[in-house]
């Protein structure tokens, strides 16, 4: 039987390939994700492992707050006296101290050297103990005072050489240092595009503002001393606020941020692979049902020859299984290529991922194959059950209607119920407070799946009215499209072919040819290929062809529209695949709009300064020295910064922010209790909190509140004011104090934002003088309110773009679905098409008829998808406080246009096939 299944697939090569493609893409996404993340993970593991290769124990500062939420808190440092104490221990063979922090390299053009938002790592190196260092010196020498070693990848990319001077900016203004050497990190030349800068310890301490302090001590045991002996010996001399771990433990600890990022990336990408597979399952189910309808006679014959229903069921499932295996294997391999391509792509945009070879784990193979095969087989179940209902008599009688299945009459009702159950699951997950995150996610996932399947099943009822409604829209959008491509495609193509093969006078042909070539040189190449193919083989291009016209062809489109209503279930299933992709892009677009709008409103309300100063990448914290430099700008009226760090209050980790006294002049809050002036009078124990925080902890003006800081100190505060932040949020954390108090309790404080007001407000002169005073800080950026808004949103926008790209995959899968349906339909209607061609339908009319049907399918999918996306987004937005519904009109129009284009492109191939049918052969076809 397996031989028959394979034969049956080979018999319908084109259809099999088209059907399988939808699974290939999804599986490729899954396997590509695994290969990519496994490879990155392994590379990072080796990096972190290497860092501590000769380290038996590592001492680090200990934060009083266990789980750090923000990256604004620098790990606690400790006094460097500890190093001498540790070195004096009899168990210790060698020990070195080190500091590390962000160190921005500045190119000779005065611009910061950044590669795609990758970190800029700065650290001390100890050339006397090379054993501890995983850096390899590949050129020059280790640094002495006022020298730096940088990584070779950065040097190569920026053309830097040993002996040159380079700017380095850490806590203070830019320092000019001499490049003493180039290093690589173990075997890898770069870690995710990060720049490396290594200094002498004393230089590093100065740069990082950590004089007399250390971030870490690495210890090697004396030979014969075990790790546990060493640890317990070290523990005896450890002061409060420090901790000791083994080298391996420290490596795991350092890697934890990266590992959780990689596992996030993995889940994130797998979700989109899952979406593509889900859409693919629709395509498969639909293609199989169509194929099975076309093979009715075949199944009936099998039944007359003694095949039982079970055997028919088995043979269809077996075919699906074989197809699933082939598609999954192809997808697996394509995934490998995809991962490779992604590495290249990231490299090209400067974000080089660490790559020590592609990792192809058995798990990748197992999961990719299993998922691909399972999805295919599950999708084949319904069509296979249909096949079993083919009665033997269909072998001898034309047009036998399949007896409806036992459940057929519950179909519409069931679909509605399923969708309703899906929505209730979504609502329950969203609005039932007190569920865990994972159960909310599962409820929402199951709910969304049920909604999609339910709507898809019910959609066949909507096809007729929707197709009629879409009819004029489809006609006119295609006319519009034809008008747009006419001068650059249709006309030159016709001119070029006329030039090549006539008719007409020599002069007009040559003239037309040259005009055509000038309008579209790509087509020139195509036509030249056609000419040579015609000369070399007996191939006859389609010529003469009618002069391209853009006028709508009523009769062709009318038949196309009719065809789209002929089999509502088929049209609905095909459209449903596109619906899913469009629902998801609509969802993310609407959610993004729902975040952006309130955020902009919030900035408009709070930001009453003229300028904001942020890091170049808009989100990294910047050292307070930047604000200090800006403060000297001529014409400055007021300047205030917002600092940020972790804290702990009421037993929970919170974000603590701090403001300068002049904040009252640059930031405007709405107050529930207190006044604007409070911002300037926070003093040593004043704190302000947001309304919601005050409510949940029953705080009023004057209430005491104590905040634990990472260094272990506790700040005793009194509530000085309660403000009412706009729904789009505020720059403040849960508790906001004065920067003076903050600086007393936090090591190496950093600013999140700095706001400044200048005499004369925003004008070119003020912008220039502010920028001039920040000249020593290339990492800082000046922005007006409008720029600040768009800078802050740019993060959301790029996330949005990534989501669009990933969701495009599922739209492509549904495009294949439409192609597939149309090819199958053309095949099925061969006789009919031949008859229509025989009674006078032109090739162009045939093409237009197919295209019209395709565009109608796409429009139905778009309408359902956009509606569903808006509803789902509305639900989420209703649940989340900081979002408010705003219709992303321009995006929605774009999506509809994309849907029409999908329809037009999907029709190209099937329409060509239909138009190529020879009327005579088509009529003889049996």
């Amino acid at each position: 039987m397996i031989r028959f299944a394979i034969r049956a697939l080979i018999q319908r090569k084109l259809r099999t390939v088209l059907t399988a493609l939808s699974i290939v893409l999804g599986v490729a996404m899954v396997s590509g994700t695994y290969v990519l993340t496994d490879s990155i993970g392994t590379a990072f593991d080796s990096i972190f492992g290497q860092t501590y290769k000769n380290t038996d124990a590592a001492i680090t500062g200990k934060s009083a707050i266990s789980n750090n939420q923000s990256d604004t808190t620098t790990p606690a440092t400790f006094n460097q006296n500890l190093l001498a104490q540790v070195q004096a221990l009899p168990e210790v063979g060698a020990a070195i101290g080190s500091v590390s922090a962000e160190a921005q390299l500045i190119g000779s053009n005065g611009k910061a050297i950044v590669f795609g938002g990758a970190p800029n790592l700065g650290f001390s190196v100890d050339p006397d103990h090379p054993d501890f260092d995983s850096l390899n010196l590949v050129d020059g020498s280790w640094p002495v005072a006022r020298e730096v070693v940088i990584d070779r990848a950065t040097a190569d990319k920026k053309g830097l050489e040993v002996g040159q001077m380079i700017g380095v900016q850490a806590r203070g203004p830019v320092q000019r240092l001499r490049i003493s050497g180039l290093v690589t990190f173990g075997a890898v030349s770069t870690i995710g595009g990060a720049t490396l800068a290594g200094f002498r310890l004393s230089t590093a301490q100065d740069l990082f503002d950590k004089q007399g302090k250390l971030d870490q001590i690495r210890i090697a045991a004396k030979s014969g001393i075990s790790q546990s002996q060493l640890i317990s010996a070290v523990q005896k001399v450890l002061p409060a606020g420090t901790q000791v771990r083994t080298g391996q433990e420290q490596a795991v600890e350092d890697a934890s941020g990266t590992s959780s990022f990689i596992s996030f990336l993995q889940t994130f990408l797998l979700v989109f692979g899952g979406v593509a597979l889900f859409v693919g399952s629709f395509v498969i189910a639909n293609s199989l049902s169509i194929t099975i309808a076309q093979r009715t006679r075949e199944f009936a014959t099998l039944r007359t020859l003694g095949a039982t229903r079970r055997q028919v069921l088995g043979s269809v499932i077996l075919e699906a299984l074989v197809m699933g295996v082939l598609a999954s294997v192809a997808g697996l391999l394509l995934g490998l290529a995809l991962a490779k391509g992604l590495f290249r792509l990231f490299d090209a945009v400067g974000f080089t991922l660490p790559n020590s070879g592609l990792i192809f784990k058995p798990r990748t193979i197992v999961v990719a194959l299993l998922v691909g095969i399972l999805v295919t087989v599950v999708a084949s179940l319904r069509p296979a059950r249909r096949a079993t209902r083919v009665p033997p008599i269909a072998a001898v009688r034309e047009g036998v209607v399949l007896p409806p299945g036992r459940l057929a009459r519950f179909r519409a009702g069931g679909a509605v119920l399923l969708a309703a159950a899906g929505f209730s699951s979504l609502l329950f997950g969203l609005f039932n407070h007190g569920l865990g995150t994972s159960s909310v996610l599962i409820l929402m996932l199951v709910g969304a799946l049920a909604v999609f399947v339910g709507v898809a099943l019910f959609a066949s009822r909507l096809v007729r009215p929707m197709a009629s409604a879409a009819n004029p829209l489809a006609r006119w959008s295609v006319v519009l499209f034809s008008v747009l491509v006419w001068p650059l495609f249709s006309l030159p193509f016709w001119l070029l072919r006329r030039g090549a093969w006539g008719p007409g006078s020599r002069g007009s042909r040559v003239g037309g040819f040259i005009l055509g070539a000038a309008l579209n040189p790509v087509l020139l190449i195509m036509v030249l290929i056609m000419v040579s193919r015609r000369a070399a083989t007996g191939w006859r291009p389609e010529w003469p062809a009618e002069f391209p016209s853009v006028a709508p062809d009523r009769s062709a489109t009318d038949i196309g529209g009719e065809n789209s209503r002929r089999d509502p279930q088929r049209t609905a299933s095909t459209a449903a695949a596109l619906m899913i992709g469009l629902a998801l892009v609509t969802l993310v677009a609407t959610l993004a709009a729902a975040i952006i709008k309130p955020f902009e409103d919030a900035v408009d309300q709070i930001f009453t300064a003229d300028y904001a100063i942020t890091a170049q990448n808009n989100f990294s914290p910047i050292p307070p020295s930047v604000a200090a430099a800006a403060a000297s700008t001529v014409g400055l009226e007021s300047i205030a910064s917002v600092r940020g760090g972790d804290g702990k209050a009421f037993g929970k980790t919170i974000q603590v922010t701090a403001v300068d006294p002049q904040a009252a002049e640059v930031l405007t809050l709405r107050w529930q209790d207190g006044a604007q002036a409070v911002l300037g009078q926070l003093d040593s124990d004043g704190a302000i909190v947001a309304k919601s925080y005050a409510k949940s902890h029953r705080l009023v003006r004057g209430s005491p509140i104590s905040v634990l800081t990472p260094s272990g100190s506790t700040i005793q505060l009194k509530i000085a004011g309660i403000f009412d932040p706009p729904s789009g949020g505020s720059p403040f954390g849960q508790v906001t104090i004065s920067s003076a108090t903050f600086d007393r309790n936090y090591a190496a404080p950093q600013n999140l934002f700095t706001f400044a007001k200048l005499r004369g407000g925003v004008n070119d002169a003020n912008t220039q003088s502010l920028e001039a005073s920040l000249k020593a800080f290339p990492n800082a950026k000046v922005a007006t309110r409008a720029q600040f808004k768009s800078n802050q949103i740019s993060g959301i926008k790029s996330v949005l773009n990534i989501l669009y790209v990933l969701l495009a995959l599922s739209v492509v899968v549904s495009l294949f679905g439409i192609v597939n349906t149309l090819v199958l339909t053309v095949f099925e209607r061969t006789r009919e098409l031949g008859m229509m061609r025989a009674i006078g339908m032109t090739r162009r009319q045939t093409r237009r008829m197919i295209r019209h049907e395709s565009v109608i399918i796409a429009l139905i999918g778009a309408a359902l998808g956009i509606a569903l996306g808006l509803i789902l987004a509305g639900l989420l937005i209703a649940r989340v406080d900081f979002m408010s519904f705003a219709l992303p009109t321009s995006q929605l129009i774009t999506f509809a246009v994309v849907a029409v284009l999908v329809g037009i492109f999907a029709a190209i191939f099937p329409a060509r096939r239909a138009a190529r049918l020879n009327p005579l052969e088509a009529l003889q076809y049996e």
Partner: protein, 246 residues
């Protein structure tokens, strides 16, 4: 009529009505018929007289509105789908007007298909003998698309015979072939009756074809109106004329 062992197929009081009410068609109106073992029975009659309908019912492809059908002693009108399928495997072979070969299988595979489905193997020598008999020895690896109509029907005949069913039904087996090829195919069917004792029921419009049968049944308006033993084409044509049914 009784279900004697010499009658492979016995049908009693068969009626078949299509549709309900005004538009209903009485395709068969009370038919009693026996198909004796080892004979070639021809069924003739004007278009629309119910020949195909009768065949379908006798072969268990369709259910009668009333009446009963026994095949090899088993009452089939009451059987469930699976039992009926199993019975079909053992007792019934089909030859179709449009061949109904599976396009992706070779001639050999098509012929063996009923056995493959039943999970059986042809007896030793049987397959080769059969293929030699239908004259397909050098065409076994071809696909249906690579065979002529006559060759395709030969494959179909071999397929019907390969499992040695109790009865073979053929509905206008030559309806889609030219006269020379038709003659060859009919000779082949006759020889299968002669050499293998294959019970066969054949619907035909061709008096020459009917003349090869051991018995000819005439159907008109859903009823058997006459029955002839083995006769010459002339007698058959005369009978048709007399009945006024052509």
């Amino acid at each position: 009529m009784s279900a004697s062992p010499s009658n492979v197929v016995v049908a009693n009081g068969i009626t078949r009505q299509f549709g309900e009410g005004d538009t209903s068609v009485h395709a068969l109106r009370g038919i009693d018929v026996c198909i004796p073992s080892g004979e070639l029975t021809a069924v003739m009659g004007p278009s629309g007289s119910g020949k195909s309908t009768l065949m379908h019912i006798l072969a268990g492809l369709d259910k009668p509105t009333a009446g009963s059908v026994h095949i090899a002693g088993t009452e089939i009108t009451a059987l469930g789908d699976t039992e009926l399928t199993k019975l079909r495997r053992r007792h019934i072979g089909f030859i179709f007007q449009f061949f109904n070969l599976l396009p992706m299988l070779t001639a050999r595979e098509n012929v063996l298909l009923p056995l493959t489905i039943a999970g059986a193997k042809p007896g030793p020598g049987w397959f080769d003998e059969l293929i030699g008999r239908v004259g397909l020895t050098d065409r076994l690896t071809h696909r249906p698309a690579e065979l002529s109509g006559g060759q395709q029907q030969r494959v179909a005949i071999a397929r019907a015979l390969v499992s040695r069913p109790s009865v073979v039904f053929a509905d206008e087996p030559t309806g889609n072939l030219d006269s020379t090829t038709s003659g060859e195919i009919l000779a082949l069917m006759r020889s299968s009756v002669e050499e293998y004792g294959q019970t066969t029921v054949m619907v035909t419009h061709d008096a020459n074809a009917a003349a090869m049968a051991d018995r000819v049944l005439f159907l008109a308006d859903g009823q058997i109106v006459q029955e002839l033993p083995r006769s010459s084409p002339r007698d058959i044509l005369l009978a048709i004329e007399k009945l006024g049914i052509r």
